[in-house]
């Protein structure tokens, strides 16, 4: 069986969803968990600064994701961790030791390449044993370790095949097994699922989490796919132009983004620009002439009249034909467009003054029973705590 949706994957997922944040906080508190800090590292290529004085910590045994659009510097950062690029300034600490001057072949860090970089002239077995042989390990121990890796990645029956004789998914697992074989302190994964199709990718994500948990290795994944980062990682660092904008658990990245950039990059969001005015336990947001302000409950501090952005996720916006009762944020609009995605539908609703708000509903009923269609007048509403108030 290729994938066991039962015990393991579910447990790891649950752990991530509910305990992920706690686990991370516990590590943070204990202090001893900060195994691999990157205190202020900079990389320049000529005039171009790829990594701009970046500081972050990677905790032991965590699954850390560097997420960002192409060209944000995440690959450069990963190559610096692997040793293929030397930082222009700053240091990288691994277990208290600065590894910046150590060449890649002497680092206790291994990398799984985006192209997998499997040696085409070597069999699967030889590929996995490659790193072990370089360490001049005894034959018996190499055999045992390779067998262990083959078992972990369920490649036992492909051991004698060459890379071009196996499928893309199997190749991906060989690459993983090869990079794990030397039991690195840090395993770097460069877009590990970029070459897989959507179905296989999802399955592989769960496998990857499973393997990370079983081996207890610290994983650092580089990806531009936010869904992938959210699924596998215990902590996600969102990068932009060589800086980390926010590094936090997937839930907090999604629910409490610290900037418009993060809110916009992760998932779908509607951003409403306005000015904040303190009111009760939150703020009233004036966003257009002649319409009642929106209300958001928050403990962030804003000055009266300060420019701000209100970020609201589409799934938190309820859409109804009748005016809903008991909610402070109620707007009337007209359906401009509907994106039907099968399980959910996204509605683009235009307010009278032209602002378009996204609302999402799960399609629990058959399409024929869908209550709304194009040009319908509908009511949008959300709770006081649904939106996130962000600084301008």
């Amino acid at each position: 069986m290729l994938f066991r949706p039962g015990a393991h994957a579910d447990r790891s997922r649950q752990q991530r969803d509910t305990h992920g944040a706690d686990r991370f906080r516990a590590l943070e508190r204990s202090g001893g968990g900060t195994a691999h800090p990157v205190p202020g590292v900079t990389k320049r290529f000529g005039d171009f600064t790829a990594i701009d004085n970046l500081s972050f910590d990677i905790y032991e045994k965590e699954f850390f994701a560097l997420l960002g659009p192409s060209g944000c510097g995440k690959t450069t950062m990963m190559r610096m961790l692997a040793g293929f690029e030397a930082p222009s300034e700053g240091s990288i600490l691994l277990g208290g030791q600065d590894i910046a001057p150590i060449p890649p072949n002497r680092r206790p860090v291994n990398m799984m390449f985006q192209s997998y970089a499997l040696f085409p002239h070597l069999s699967v077995w030889e590929n996995i044993a490659f790193g072990l042989k370089r360490d001049r390990m005894e034959k018996d121990r190499i055999n045992a370790r390779v067998a262990e890796m083959l078992k972990l990645t369920r490649l036992e029956q492909f051991a004698s095949r060459k890379p071009h004789q196996i499928s893309g998914g199997q190749r991906q697992r060989v690459a993983l097994a090869r990079s794990l074989a030397k039991a690195p302190k840090l395993l770097l994964l460069d877009e590990p699922m970029g070459a897989l199709d959507a179905k296989l990718r999802q399955k592989t994500q769960f496998e990857l989490m499973d393997i990370q948990e079983k081996t207890g290795t610290t994983f650092v994944i580089v990806t531009h796919d936010q869904e992938e980062a959210m699924t596998v990682a215990s902590r996600v660092a969102v990068m932009d132009q060589g800086r980390i904008v926010q590094a936090d658990t997937p839930a907090r990245i999604y629910e409490q983004p610290n900037s418009v950039y993060v809110a916009d990059f992760i998932g779908e969001v509607t951003i409403i620009d306005g000015t904040a005015n303190p009111e009760g336990d939150g703020y009233e947001i004036a966003y257009a002439e002649g319409v009642p302000p929106l209300f958001v409950a928050t403990d962030k501090k804003f000055a009266r009249g300060q420019a701000c952005h209100l970020a609201i996720r589409p799934e938190k916006v309820a859409i109804s034909a009748e005016r809903p009762e008991g909610r402070r944020n109620v707007l009337r609009g007209r359906i401009l467009d509907i994106a039907y995605l099968g399980n959910i539908s996204t509605y683009l609703v235009e307010l009278p003054h032209g602002k378009v708000i996204k609302a999402q509903t799960a399609n629990t009923r058959r399409l024929a029973h869908r209550p709304f269609t194009w040009e319908d007048e509908v009511w949008l509403s959300w709770s006081d705590t649904a939106a996130v108030l962000l600084e301008g």
Binding site: A82, G83, F84, P103, P104, N105, R106, V109, N110, M111, F113, Q114, S115, A117, L118, F119, P120, H121, F130, G131, R134, D135, H164, R178, S179, K182
Partner: protein
């Protein structure tokens, strides 16, 4: 039908340009020398009908091949050709590999220029290029002048008309045939393979031996055959640059043919040369096929 036609064309080509000439040469090698035009007997007389053909066939024999095995000039010439071809192939590989490696690791925009520089010598006549080496290698030649001027030697070296000159000539002439297939193999190689090797604990040098060399193996094999096969039968280079003591089968063939006018023996020499070459040619074809399969 159209498929059959399509296949027929290359086979007809092969038949006309390889098999028929080979059969003619083979037939001459079975004949006896004669003072006639053409200088051998028997000739096929079709006007005599069946009788003529039978007479023709009975006159053919393997006498010339027996002769070749009794005179040690021939097998010495074969061995010496083999030796010169093997050594010059090895030198060409040693010179060509670094050049191909350098070309493959050069920046992208440089590669077409470098490629052209390798091919450029083909634009002038091969004969002129070999002649110009005579000017370089002779006792008063540029090489000796340079070495004396640099103070490395006191008197001129005798290079021309020795085996050394033959090696230089063969290496020079066939270098592009070595460089191009190796370059093609190296250029296709994914650079991340070397990074992966380093990441797994290789030094740069071990990564070269464990990854780069095995992956360019097909290029190396192709290049070696492309140099070895023509070098073994080389005639122009040993006769222009080599001395009287340079023994190569191509030269022997020439002398049998034009000096002795012994066409049957010359043909027998050619047939044996072909038989010697068939082994590497088959190996070469197999290598090509294997590398094509590996790509699929």
């Amino acid at each position: 039908m159209r498929r059959a036609l399509l296949i027929l064309v290359p086979y007809l080509w092969l038949l006309a340009l390889f098999l028929i000439p080979f059969l003619i040469v083979f037939k001459i090698s079975l004949s006896d020398g004669a003072l006639a035009i053409p200088p051998y007997t028997p000739t096929l007389d079709l006007s005599a009908g069946w009788e003529g053909i039978r007479e023709f066939l009975t006159d053919l024999d393997f006498e010339n091949f027996v002769f070749l095995s009794t005179d040690d000039l021939y097998w010495k010439a074969y061995l010496s050709s083999l030796q010169i071809a093997v050594i010059s192939t090895a030198i060409t590989l040693l010179v060509g590999y670094p050049i191909a490696y350098g070309m493959a690791s050069a920046p992208d925009h440089w590669r077409p220029t470098l490629m052209m520089l390798v091919i450029l010598p083909f634009w002038t006549s091969f004969l002129i290029r070999v002649y110009s080496w005579m000017g370089i290698l002779s006792t008063e030649g540029y090489l000796n002048q340079l070495l004396i001027w640099l103070g490395l030697i006191s008197g001129p070296l005798t290079i021309l008309n020795t085996n050394t000159a033959v090696y230089i000539g063969i290496v020079y002439t066939y270098l592009p045939f070595m460089i191009l297939p190796i370059y093609a193999a190296l250029e296709r190689m994914d650079g991340s393979l070397l990074e992966a090797a380093e990441d797994l604990g290789c030094s740069r040098i071990t990564a070269f031996w464990l990854v780069t060399v095995p992956l360019s193996r097909n290029g190396i094999v192709a290049g070696c055959f492309l140099v070895f096969i023509p070098a073994i039968g080389e005639f122009v280079i040993p006769s222009l640059l080599g001395g009287s003591r340079t023994l190569m089968i191509g030269k022997v063939l020439w002398e049998e043919f034009f000096n002795n006018r012994d066409w049957p023996v010359a043909s027998a020499v050619a047939v044996i040369l072909l038989l010697i070459l068939i082994v590497p040619i088959i190996l070469f074809q197999r290598n090509e096929q294997k590398s094509r399969e590996a790509e699929e």
